[in-house]
C-alpha cells in the first residue's frame, strides 16, 4: 500500500501531461490539415509551433510534483488536526483519566524543569564574562605534611606573572571583610575585595557607571578610591547617581566612589565593594598567602599545559626560596569551578533523582494508557475494519499521547515556576550564582524537550500495543482472556516492576541521605551550643591599631563587664572565633619535640580566647589548667592545645610544661609559649569534618581586634540581642553589628545544605512511592475486574475469603518482590556515586536497604488490599451471569 501510494499519483501525473500535450498537437494538426496541408507537413508545422516538447513536458512535471507534495502536506496537516480533535474528544469522554495522567505528567515535567533551571543557572550557563572558559584561578597547594589549597603570596605571584608563557593577562584579588560607616546608614560589614587595577579588564567586565581603577591607584599613597557593586549601591544608596564622586568611609578611610559595577556582577563573586591595592614586597612576604591569582589563558593553551608550567615555576621557586616555599606547588582551576565551589555533586544528585521520578511518571502514565487501551479494543477493531492501517493507528495513539504530554508540559511549566520560587525561597546558605537561576528560553526549551521525550516514552508502548489487534479476537463479545490481553498484561506488569525498581533506587538514595543526616545531627561537636548568643565584633584598624593593644583589651574587658551585669546572663567571653568557625592557621614548632626550619613547620589553628571561654561554651579541660585573668602581657606567655594536637605530638607524654615557639606579633611577646593545658576537641570545621589541631591563647597575650562575643544566657539567647547591641554601641557607636545569632542556630545552619538536600530527596522519594503504589493498584484492579468470572466460580466452589485475598495479594506481592529485587541491585550499583556526599554511612548500608525494601513492600501490600477486598466481595451469581 505504502509503495503504491507514493508511485501511483506520480505516474498518473506523467500520463496526464502526456495526454494533454498530445491533444494540443493533434488538434493543431487537424486544423492545419483543414487549412490544406498534407498530414505530414501539418504535424511538422504543429510541432514547430508548439516548441520544445521535451523541455515543456519536464517543467510541467516539476510543477506537478510540487503540487502533489503540497497536497500531501496539506492532507497530513489535516489528518493531524483531525487526530488532535479526536484525541481531545476521546479525553473529554474520560476526563478523570485525562486529568490524572496530565497531573502526574505535570508533576514530573515541572519538577524536572525546576531542578534543571537551578542546575542550568549554576553549573551549565557560562559566566557572564568575556570568554569565561579561558579564565583560571591559580592556587598554591601544600604538598608536605598536610595537603590542601591555599591562596598565593604576592612575591610568588609577581614571579609567576613575569616568567610564565601561558597567560595573556594576570590579575588578583583578596577578600577581607570591610566595615562601611557613615551618615548614610548604620555601620555595616560588607564582603569586599582588594583588587589589582587590571582585574576587571582581565575578567572582561567594566563598571556600568563611572570608570575602573587606574594603574596609579594601585600604589601606596594614591588617592583612596572605591567601586560599588550594583546590589550595595541599591541597598545602601537607593541607586543615587550622586554617590559617584562623593566619599564613603571604608574601614575608617574616606574613599571616593569612581564606579558602579553592572547588576549581577557582585552576585558572581559575592562581593559588594572593591578597593584597589597592590601589596608591596614590604607588606606581603613570601610566607603570607592571601591573594587569589587569576589568569586569562592565551588562545589555544590548555589548562593542563598551563598547569604543567605553573608546577615547573613553583618547583624553581621552591629551590630559590626554601625558607618559604618548601612543599609548595601550584594548581589551576577553571574560574567557573572556583565560583560555584562544591555544589556540583549535590545538584547532580538532585537532577538525577528528579529524572528518576520523571521515568516513574512515564511508566505510570504508560500503564494508565495501556489499561485504557484494553477497554478500547472494539474501537480499534472498528477503525481497522473501516480501513485504518497500523501506522495510521499508531499515529492516532501517539497523537493522543502528544496531546496529553503537551497539557502535562504546560501545567508542568506552571509547577516549575512555583517550584523555582519555592526552591529559591527555601534554599539555604550562600549558593553561588543563585541569582542567575530563572525560567528563561533555555529552561522553557528544556521543558519542551522533556515534554516531547516524555510523550514518546509513555506513548510508544501503548501505541504499538493498542494498534496491534486482530479483528477476530477483538470482535468476540465479552471475551476478556484473549492472547492479546495477556501479552498486554505482561507489558503492564513489566512496567509496574520497573516503576517499583526505580522507586526502590530513589528511596534507597534518599534513605541513605536521611541516615547520614541523622548521624550528622548526633555528632558530638565537642561543646555545648545551647543558650549561647554569638555577636561578631570587628574593631577597625583605623581607630584600634595593632600597636594600641591596651585599647583593644580595654574595649573587650569593658564590654564583657557590662554584658555580664545584664539580667539573664550566666557567663560572657570573647573568642576568635565561635566554636564552629574554623578560622585560620599559623606555623609553630615544639622545642625539643618537633623543631623544624621556617617553611617546614607544621600549622595549627590560632584561637585567642578570654578567660571564661571554655566555661561559656562548655569545652572540657582535660589536663593542666585553664586561663586566668593574670595571663596578661606582663607574665610569660602560655598556650592551651586541643586533644588532637596533643595526640599528634605527645603520644606518650604530657604536653604540659613543653614550650611552643612561633612568630612574635606583639612587642611584649617572646615567641615562646608554655603549654599549660589540654582541652577537648571541637569540630570547628563543621560536624562532618575531622578535628584540626588548635592552639588557644589568652586574649590579653594575643589581643586580636576582631573577636566574637559569646554570651551564655539563662533563657532564650536571642531575646538578649537587643540589650547586648545597645551595650556595644554605648562603647563605640560606629561598630557594625550584624549576623547576631544563637550558637544553636549556627549549628543548625552549618548542616542546612544537607538538611535541604535530604528534604528535597525525601520529597522525590515520597512521590516515587506514591506513583509506584498507584501503579500496582492499577494493575491489580484491572486483574481483579478481568478475573471476576473466575473468582466467582472459585467462590461458588467453596473458596474462602482468605483464599481470594491470598490470590490477589499474592499476585501483587510477586510483582512487588520482583521490583524490589531489581531495585536493590540497581541501588547497590548506583548509590556508590553519592558516597562522597554521605557522612558516616556506607553507600550500600544494609540497614537502610533493608528498611527501604520493607517500606516499599508494606506500601505495595496496602495498595493490594483494596482490589483484594473487592475480589473477596464478588457475588458469584452476578459474576457468572455477566460472563
Amino acid at each position: 500500500m505504502k509503495v503504491l501510494g507514493k508511485i501511483l499519483p506520480q505516474r498518473q501525473l506523467e500520463q496526464d501531461i502526456e495526454d494533454e500535450l498530445a491533444f494540443h498537437i493533434e488538434a493543431r494538426t487537424c486544423r492545419n490539415e483543414a487549412g490544406g496541408m498534407t498530414p505530414a507537413t501539418a504535424r511538422d508545422e504543429a510541432l514547430r509551433r508548439f516548441g520544445d516538447v521535451e523541455g515543456i513536458r519536464e517543467s510541467c512535471r516539476e510543477i506537478g510534483m510540487e503540487r502533489l507534495r503540497a497536497q500531501r502536506r496539506a492532507e497530513l496537516m489535516d489528518q493531524i488536526k483531525r487526530d488532535i480533535g479526536y484525541a481531545i474528544r476521546t479525553m473529554l469522554r474520560r476526563p478523570g483519566f485525562a486529568a490524572t495522567a496530565a497531573f502526574i505528567l505535570a508533576l514530573g515535567i515541572g519538577g524536572t524543569t525546576a531542578i534543571f533551571s537551578v542546575v542550568d543557572g549554576i553549573l551549565l550557563r557560562p559566566l557572564a564574562l568575556h570568554q569565561p572558559e579561558r579564565l583560571v584561578v591559580l592556587w598554591g597547594i601544600e604538598t608536605g605534611l598536610r595537603s590542601g589549597s591555599s591562596a598565593a603570596s604576592y612575591p610568588d605571584f609577581v614571579d609567576i606573572e613575569e616568567s610564565n608563557t601561558v597567560f595573556e593577562e594576570m590579575a588578583f584579588w583578596s577578600s577581607p571583610t570591610m566595615a562601611v560607616t557613615g551618615p548614610e546608614g548604620e555601620p555595616i560589614n560588607v564582603e569586599g575585595s582588594r583588587i589589582s587595577h587590571d582585574l576587571f579588564p582581565t575578567l572582561g567586565v567594566a563598571p556600568a557607571i563611572g570608570r575602573g581603577f587606574l594603574p596609579e591607584e594601585d600604589r601606596e599613597g594614591a588617592e583612596p578610591v572605591l567601586i560599588l557593586g550594583h546590589g550595595f549601591w541599591t541597598s545602601r544608596f537607593g541607586r543615587d547617581m550622586g554617590v559617584l564622586g562623593s566619599t564613603v568611609a571604608v574601614d575608617g578611610v574616606q574613599r571616593t566612589v569612581v564606579g558602579i559595577m553592572p547588576p549581577g556582577f557582585d552576585m558572581l563573586f559575592g562581593k559588594q565593594i572593591w578597593i584597589p591595592g597592590t601589596p608591596t614586597h614590604a607588606t606581603d612576604s613570601r610566607g603570607q598567602h592571601r591573594i587569589i591569582a587569576l589568569g586569562r589563558l592565551k588562545p589555544g593553551v590548555s589548562i593542563e599545559a598551563a598547569e604543567a608550567e605553573m608546577r615547573a615555576i613553583a618547583a624553581r621557586l621552591e629551590t630559590e626560596y626554601p625558607e618559604f616555599n618548601t612543599n609548595r606547588s601550584a594548581r589551576l582551576e577553571p574560574l567557573h569551578e572556583t565560583v560555584i565551589g562544591d555544589v556540583r555533586p549535590a545538584l547532580l544528585v538532585l537532577l538525577g533523582a528528579v529524572g528518576v521520578v520523571l521515568l516513574i511518571v512515564c511508566a505510570n502514565v504508560a500503564n494508565l494508557m495501556l489499561a485504557r487501551g484494553m477497554t478500547r479494543g472494539k474501537e480499534v477493531a472498528v477503525r481497522t475494519a473501516l480501513g485504518a492501517s497500523r501506522p495510521r493507528l499508531v499515529r492516532q495513539f501517539l497523537t493522543e499521547s502528544a496531546v496529553l504530554a503537551v497539557i502535562g508540559g504546560a501545567l508542568g511549566v506552571g509547577i516549575a515556576f512555583l517550584g523555582i520560587d519555592l526552591l529559591l525561597a527555601t534554599i539555604p546558605g550562600d549558593i553561588p550564582r543563585i541569582a542567575e537561576v530563572a525560567v528563561d528560553g533555555r529552561v522553557l526549551g528544556f521543558a519542551l524537550l522533556t515534554t516531547i521525550v516524555t510523550g514518546l516514552l509513555f506513548g510508544l508502548i501503548p501505541a504499538l500495543h493498542g494498534s496491534k489487534l486482530d479483528l477476530h479476537t477483538a470482535l468476540k463479545e465479552g471475551s476478556r482472556t484473549t492472547s492479546q490481553g495477556s501479552s498486554r498484561t505482561r507489558v503492564r506488569q513489566t512496567l509496574v516492576v520497573a516503576e517499583m525498581a526505580l522507586a526502590v533506587m530513589l528511596v534507597a538514595g534518599a534513605g541513605l541521605f536521611v541516615n547520614s543526616f541523622l548521624r550528622l545531627q548526633r555528632v558530638d561537636p565537642g561543646f555545648n551550643s545551647e543558650r549561647v548568643l554569638v555577636v561578631p565584633i570587628s574593631l577597625p584598624g583605623s581607630r584600634y591599631s595593632a600597636d594600641e593593644w591596651p585599647k583593644v583589651i580595654g574595649f573587650y574587658d569593658q564590654l564583657m563587664e557590662r554584658v555580664a551585669s545584664l539580667p539573664g546572663v550566666e557567663s560572657v567571653s570573647a573568642a576568635y572565633r565561635h566554636p564552629l568557625d574554623g578560622g585560620w592557621e599559623t606555623s609553630f614548632q615544639l622545642l625539643g619535640v618537633y623543631e623544624r626550619p621556617q617553611g617546614e613547620r607544621p600549622e595549627a589553628r590560632i584561637r585567642p580566647v578570654t578567660t571564661e571561654y571554655f566555661r561559656t561554651v562548655g569545652i572540657p579541660l582535660i589536663e593542666g589548667r585553664s586561663f586566668t585573668d593574670r595571663d596578661d602581657e606582663h607574665v610569660p606567655n602560655v598556650v592551651i592545645i586541643n586533644q588532637a594536637f596533643a595526640r599528634a605530638f605527645f603520644p606518650d607524654e604530657s604536653p604540659v610544661g613543653h614550650i611552643l615557639e612561633r612568630w612574635a606579633w606583639w612587642p611584649f611577646q617572646t615567641g615562646q609559649f608554655e603549654i599549660v593545658g589540654v582541652v577537648g576537641d571541637v569540630k570547628m570545621d563543621g560536624v562532618a569534618s575531622t578535628t584540626p589541631w588548635a592552639m588557644y591563647y589568652p586574649h590579653r597575650q594575643m589581643p586580636f581586634s576582631e573577636m566574637q562575643l559569646l554570651v551564655r544566657t539563662a533563657g532564650d539567647p536571642i531575646a538578649l540581642a537587643g540589650a547586648v547591641r545597645a551595650e556595644v554601641w554605648t562603647l563605640d557607636s560606629d561598630l557594625p553589628l550584624e549576623n547576631i545569632r544563637s550558637l544553636e542556630q549556627i549549628r543548625a545552619d552549618s548542616v542546612a545544605p544537607e538538611r535541604f538536600q535530604t528534604l528535597l530527596l525525601g520529597l522525590f522519594a515520597t512521590l516515587a512511592i506514591i506513583l509506584a503504589a498507584t501503579g500496582i493498584y492499577g494493575v491489580l484492579s484491572y486483574a481483579v475486574a478481568q478475573r471476576t468470572g473466575e473468582i466467582g466460580i472459585r467462590i461458588s466452589m467453596g473458596a474462602e475469603t482468605a483464599d481470594v485475598l491470598r490470590l490477589v495479594v499474592g499476585q501483587g506481592l510477586r510483582l512487588t518482590l520482583a521490583g524490589v529485587a531489581v531495585g536493590l541491585v540497581g541501588a547497590f550499583l548506583s548509590t556508590r556515586m553519592i558516597s562522597s556526599l554521605l557522612f558516616d554511612v556506607s553507600p550500600s548500608d544494609p540497614l537502610t536497604f533493608g528498611a527501604v525494601a520493607g517500606t516499599l513492600v508494606l506500601v505495595a501490600l496496602a495498595a493490594c488490599t483494596i482490589p483484594a477486598l473487592r475480589a473477596s466481595q464478588v457475588d458469584p451469581v452476578h459474576a457468572l451471569r455477566a460472563e
Partner: protein, 106 residues
C-alpha cells in the same frame, strides 16, 4: 526596470490566460486559439509554453482543472477560473479600468 523581460512576459501570459478563461472553461488548445485570435498573432511565443503557465496557475489555485470530452469526443483537460483567479484578473486590469494586458501589447 525592476521587472525582467521574462517576468513581464510571464505575467502578461498569465493575464491573457486568465482573461481567456473568464469567458468559461477551456482546454489548453482553446486557450491558445483565443490568444491567437485576440492578439492577432502579435504574440510570437511557442504555444507549448502555455502549459507550464497553466500548471503553475493551477498549483497556485487561480484555476482548477478537470478532464472532459472535447468537441470531437477526445479526452481533454479543461481549465476553469477560481475565485482567487478572478480576483487576480481584476487586480491585473488596473484601476484606470483599461485592460492593461492588451494595452501593454499594443
Amino acid at each position: 526596470m525592476a521587472i525582467s523581460r521574462t517576468e513581464l512576459l510571464r505575467g502578461t501570459l498569465d493575464m491573457m490566460v486568465l482573461k481567456a478563461l473568464s469567458w468559461g472553461p477551456l482546454h489548453g488548445y482553446a486557450v491558445a486559439r483565443w490568444i491567437e485570435d485576440g492578439t492577432e498573432q502579435i504574440l510570437q511565443i511557442e504555444e507549448g509554453s502555455l502549459y507550464p503557465a497553466l500548471h503553475r496557475m493551477e498549483r497556485r489555485k487561480w484555476i482548477e482543472a478537470e478532464w472532459g470530452q472535447s468537441e470531437n469526443n477526445r479526452r481533454a483537460k479543461y481549465y476553469r477560473l477560481t475565485e482567487a483567479g478572478r480576483r487576480h484578473l481584476r487586480a491585473g486590469i488596473g484601476a484606470d479600468g483599461k485592460d492593461s494586458v492588451l494595452e501593454r501589447l499594443r
